[in-house]
Symmetry: C2
Subunit: 352 residues, 2 copies
């Protein structure tokens, strides 16, 4: 297969700017590898609210349904924070997309690049030891989607997990660990939560199918602490939806280079949503200084996981590495840099 359909949801803030650079890179990949990425743009988030009154319009959903993958920019901004929670750009677009497409598996790598260890807010005695963690987060279950409600003077949320939900995300984590450093740290609160006790049991059971991967269980509070003290001890973090939300952001903060971190949200049949880990950064939107690398690396993940184009994905990743080495980076990476968003995107596209 050489033809793939991509739903492009650029969104708000820096989304459209960094997406423009991802387009350049995808064009370069098309040319070099003889591929066609048929791209259809659609409204999402605040831009969609402004245009048609809702963060995930039906026409956007139908474009996604007719595509092989979703390349997502970022959504949200101060303009829409006053809206009701389920009408807000982030929640109102991401949660229904995850549920509609059963995107149960969220992958978020967090790295300290030795050459850029100074970007990390950790002490050099910690950051110099490096970090290369993959956070595997369950994305369609748990307290996010359990029964919830409101009484007159009270409210409740329910966290539920089934054996099937836990085992399918656990398998992804163990398979990922097999291609990495062969260690899974499963996060739970089994000293308090019944869902965590089940989580621990199921993960322990799944681990038997992966004798070459070491499994460790860790309480969420301890993990929040260990990630700061000695992040180099981790390889793959396996988390439920809520704990993964928290730890993946903590991990990104530790890496210190939000502008470099992509993410992938996958279902069981190769469909996925790919987005930068950072937000819409309204404070720097429109200035041409946003870092496009996270968006470009998200496109690389799309080629790998949804299209099976490993070579093309690697080509993008190598081109990114080359630019990083050459110092062609935006000022979030090097404060005195004079390169802008478009310079970095073009350099990466040219390197392909």
């Amino acid at each position: 297969q050489t033809r793939f359909k991509v739903a492009v949801l650029a969104g708000d803030g820096i989304g459209p700017e960094v997406m423009a650079e991802a387009h350049k890179v995808l064009n370069a990949v098309e040319a070099r590898f003889g591929l066609t990425f048929e791209r259809t743009e659609a409204l999402v988030g605040g831009a969609a609210i402004d245009a048609v009154g809702q963060p995930l319009p039906p026409q956007t959903l139908s474009i996604c349904q007719q595509s092989d993958a979703i390349l997502f920019g970022s959504v949200g901004g101060p303009k829409w924070t006053g809206l009701a929670p389920d009408q807000q750009p982030e929640r109102g677009s991401l949660l229904p997309l995850r549920k509609t497409f059963d995107l149960f598996c969220n992958l978020r790598p967090g790295q300290i690049y030795p050459a850029f260890a100074e970007l990390s807010p950790l002490h050099p005695r910690v950051s110099s030891q490096g970090m290369d963690v993959l956070c595997v987060r369950e994305l369609t279950g748990g307290i996010y989607f359990g029964e919830k409600g409101r009484g007159e003077d009270s409210a409740f949320d329910t966290q539920t997990y089934s054996t099937a939900e836990i085992s399918r995300i656990a398998r992804v984590a163990f398979e990922a660990a097999q291609k990495r450093s062969h260690k899974v740290t499963s996060i739970d609160k089994a000293n308090v939560l019944q869902t965590s006790i089940l989580w621990r049991e199921v993960v322990t059971e799944v681990a038997k199918d992966f004798p070459d991967v070491a499994l460790e269980h860790m309480y969420i509070d301890n993990a929040a602490m260990q990630l700061i003290r000695s992040p180099q001890q981790f390889d793959v973090l396996l988390c439920d939806n809520l704990f993964g939300d928290i730890l993946s952001d903590e991990l990104a903060a530790i890496a210190g280079s939000m502008g470099l971190l992509p993410s992938a949200s996958l279902n069981g049949s190769g469909f996925g949503l790919y987005e930068p880990a950072g937000g819409s950064a309204p404070d720097i939107a429109g200035q041409g200084i946003a870092n496009p690398i996270a968006q470009i690396l998200s496109a690389a993940l799309m080629l790998r996981y949804s299209f099976g184009l490993e070579d093309a994905a690697k080509a993008i990743e190598q081109a990114v590495q080359q630019c990083l080495q050459q110092g062609i980076v935006t000022r979030d990476i090097q404060p005195d840099s004079s390169y802008g968003t478009a310079d970095v995107g073009s350099a990466i596209a040219n390197a392909i």
Copy 2:
């Protein structure tokens, strides 16, 4: 009142060693201020499991009931990790104590002391800006104590919060902020959880009674990130039970000096449980090198919050500061130190 009854639950690991130093300090306070702390020791945690088969024996509970406060050491260790969750030393003692005495309010300060900023795992460019945060955590509600259960292939936990539960802990946070830097950051996940939406509403309402305190709301994932990036932005963190569990440990990791951090768990009538933030540290137990300061500062909090002895509490805190300044510290604070647990405890007692 000059006579107070203290239930002393030293527990496991380094618990008994550091408690011995707290006793020295309390003796010194008795002498200097003409007070009597009538102390009754009781079994708890693994020590209680070994002696009488349960982590919180009835006789311990009744000693606590007859006391004005509980001074708690630390519990747990590798010996007991195989037990069922509700039989384990930590959970099996702390959760029932919190519930029995309605200890709804957990206070955990986290500081980067300028003189010891190098202890923090944060980069000097961050840690040199200092940090002085008080985490106020709701301790008897939420997902810890909601309905929970297990089906054949599934499990569930329920998080519930009432207006009354939220407002009483919010008041504590605002009152604390009035004595500090007049800022409360309330943590929730109001873009996903109904309990968080209620939390935000109630906290916003309570804030109206404290016009001199600035209120800010922050999502838990963002807070996990901000705490690492710029901890100096925070004054008082107001958290529910689960988010407080995670953030207070993250805060402790950032401070980098677990051995210096006390905690207080209070109810509405002055009764409280006071314990070091760190664990039982079985790896260094029995060697006489554990840092007794967190235990000693926990005793100071007991004098302040349960006994209303502000002067005596301050005297302990000043004595601790004096020892820190003189470098009379254990090797977790200064790796080349030759002072042990007893040296530090005696120095603090002498300074009173």
